[in-house]
Symmetry: D2
């Protein structure tokens, strides 16, 4: 929503030191690249600097040798890292689902409206139920009947499917299978999961039943990058709603679906807008 066409985005990470902002803004100025917005963040102990710069420039900037040189020089001089993206080059996205359709619908609707910086290339599922939703939106549907026994046989085929379609982002939209460590390693910070609980409160299964027993007065959902530490990956977005004693566990599940959908959609939007830097297991999520 925030990014108009023809913008270049730089994500910059480096140990903090004096003069970084001046340095970066000067070489952009000297290359006649106009800064539209910049947002920075500094952390202490150890001091680290993070910045997102949005500039006005066409996509050819990505192969501009002068810019590449400046980035190289900066990375060497400041021991930093700069990632560069262009708004015209959208992420190829695969949505993994099982039976729950609400978050899937939301991503498909936004895709169809062309609201977001991604193209949904396919839906992957371990269950056939949602093939009709894929048909409604005319998106290829791949059925892999993954379970705990055949997982290691089927995953290589799924990985192959991802690679041959140049998938940049995998969204687990209530996909009810745990990916193997091997799978996850090949898509580091490229898999987003929605956890139907307010992490880290209720890790693992049946979080709403846990929540009901404790009589919590607020329930939430968490979108996070997937790592091999189950439900421990860097948190991207969270949201909550107030509940009360009148909610049964089932009603909490129902009420939670709306937050899960909202939280996952926001996380995918932040990721594909190139607004996220992950550092030491935490996310920095820039505003725009």
């Amino acid at each position: 929503m925030k990014i108009k066409p023809d913008k270049t985005i730089l994500l910059i990470t480096c140990p903090d030191q004096q003069g970084i902002v001046a340095k970066i803004s000067s070489w952009l100025f000297n290359l006649h690249i106009n800064i539209i917005s910049m947002e920075e963040h500094v952390e202490n102990s150890p001091a680290f600097f993070f910045m997102r710069v949005v500039t006005e420039s066409n996509e050819f900037i990505l192969s501009n040798e002068k810019l590449k040189n400046e980035i190289n020089k900066f990375e060497n001089e400041f021991y930093g890292k700069i990632s560069i993206y262009h708004s015209k080059i959208k992420d190829n996205c695969a949505i993994f689902v099982t039976k729950e359709d609400l978050p899937l619908y939301d991503l498909l609707i936004k895709n169809q409206k062309n609201n977001f910086n991604y193209n949904i290339k396919m839906i992957v599922s371990n269950h056939e139920k949602l093939s009709n939703v894929a048909k409604q939106f005319n998106i290829p549907f791949y059925y892999f009947p993954v379970n705990s026994t055949n997982k290691l046989d089927l995953e290589p085929k799924i990985i192959q499917l991802m690679k041959s379609n140049n998938i940049d982002l995998i969204v687990l939209a209530r996909y009810m299978q745990i990916l193997s460590p091997n799978f996850i390693e090949q898509f580091e910070q490229k898999i987003i999961n929605i956890h139907h609980g307010f992490l880290p409160a209720f890790k693992g299964g049946r979080p709403y039943h846990q929540a009901w027993k404790r009589g919590v007065k607020i329930i939430g959902a968490t979108a996070h990058y997937v790592t091999n530490n189950l439900d421990e990956g860097p948190i991207i977005t969270q949201d909550v709603i107030p509940i009360n004693h009148t909610f049964s566990a089932t009603e909490m599940i129902q009420a939670g679906k709306d937050i899960e959908r909202r939280v996952l959609t926001h996380a995918v939007q932040a990721h594909t807008d190139k607004r996220i830097i992950v550092h030491e297991g935490r996310t920095i999520v820039f505003n725009r």
Copy 2:
């Protein structure tokens, strides 16, 4: 806030069965007691019935023999329990503090404005710092230098102080000592604590530092009854605020104080309005 003078409140708990509402409303009608509002809640497996009834009646109703008879009959017939309160008879309250003054101030201000159904009889502290706040509001301040070694010596004196002042409710407003099991047993469901974290996510100490490390996007606070299971007592109220990566752990603490105050105040108000029933470790908190 919701209770005007001269109201009688009945809190009713019993195994669920047909005709309970008709039964209760009939004998109240027959005793010429006008129902102002009633709110009920039913739970399944096992089926339990809970109701709060507010009636228009003066405080003499509490010693009305006919009413007592009906209550006895109901309790026997339905295997239930009815607690009865009158709005003119306010809870005597002791506030326990250490160094944090924000929630203390809020309770004192509301007490001074006579907004709530309690009278603050005293402030108890293991530290002298807040004696000046006590002075500002002209409330007796008792200093007991409790620490882990002298706790068992000092607690009997504190308990004695509570009993001799007919204290109905103890509010731990950021009191930094853990009460002994013996203390807690003598004030079952009469001690409210504010936990400066969103339980059950971050039990134990330094919840904000835990939250910072996980990069959470929402922080919260929880008011709960104190039981001998540390931070596991029945949750009364919870609230949250959104945060982001720019908050240091210290800034999260600062931002959290406002929620802690709000959550504790709401919990004390719900308790003293007689809007809470505790059942199987969960609270039912009626609206009014």
Copy 3:
């Protein structure tokens, strides 16, 4: 969400007086109708009593003569009104749209999942754009090219379409034509509109542009019953999100769509769950 099959709902309105609750619960008890939940509300000056009772009973209760008699007696004795509904008999619903698809999608998804107490019978539009969405969900789509000059010619045909399909509820999901007074009168309290502003702050057109100019920090949406007083009908649900100076009017519109959808869906749910009583231009919206 809250209503399971085979429930009967009574909505009761009458001038307040002593003994109403006892009266109602007694005759239900005598008819062997089990009360699952009851929620009441009282207003002063003048004193009015409102109650929603949910009972366990099959749909034949609607034609039970004894119940009809009791209701008649009650209405005469207490000058009240009782409406009775059964959960198996769902509202027939028509959705009116123009070009915006987000709230339409949400209602269709919930309809397809059979989550709500309505059946969407048709989509009506003054524009052809959303016919493909109708096709996606296999719902009849009626195109009436309504504009200000032909409105009085076309509306009778639309009204005829509603009547011949026994439409119980019309949902204006961003329908960009104002209905004539004649149309509205024929569907009193049966038309729900979503206003893309936080009423009554920004009545009329372009509310987000108005909001931007004033630099508001919160935007919202309002679902309300349609009356002949434009944007003045009884408010059903409202919700808001925080914004800030970085949002352009266009971005506010984008951000607002999510709340509009949520607010409209909640309003339709409350209406079809039979949780709403309208009294003197205000709504009483019961919890469940």
Copy 4:
């Protein structure tokens, strides 16, 4: 909360043009002033640029001739305006009240804890009721029995009191008198008011009674700078809480007090942190 001692803050406004960020960050770098954080905002039609820069520097920087020169050069070259502040130099603040004590208490508590970048120099009131609160916190209390007939006689004395105490900020904490145009002109963007309604929904008096009649489901409060357009000054902060039909107008007032306090406190904090730029009747409120 966000500003530690020994920070210099620059608020920059100018017509937008290429290279502004590079320009500013370069001369700060050349003056050996370390940027801690910078946050910018750009508006279109016409294009305007706004930035807040926080630098590490002691208070002597304010009289540094080289910096003054650079600022002058920038203002001339870019047709801009730079305001400069130092965190050690706190705003002198006067609180105007009538009878409501809740927001006053909050400002006094924060002042006593030295949390904020202001010193409360005095409380001014048109009523004697809150003199005891002033006494509790040992702050001078000035009583001016202002009413509509004597206002023009008394205001010059109040203005004189402000000037002789070098008051930088006047906070109207539920002060129930309207200031004259002459008064307001002398303190442009230096008077903050809390309006106990969600502006612009309910301007003028008795906003909660207006809200009750319309049956709104959300109530709010608004802090804004005072201009001669009653309740139309630039909005600084807003917040809301959900309500429902069970709230009487009086209960809405009670529930609203908590938001009013919160909203006013946040506005005063933003102002005294030097996080606000006013432009064309709208505020830009930087995050930190």
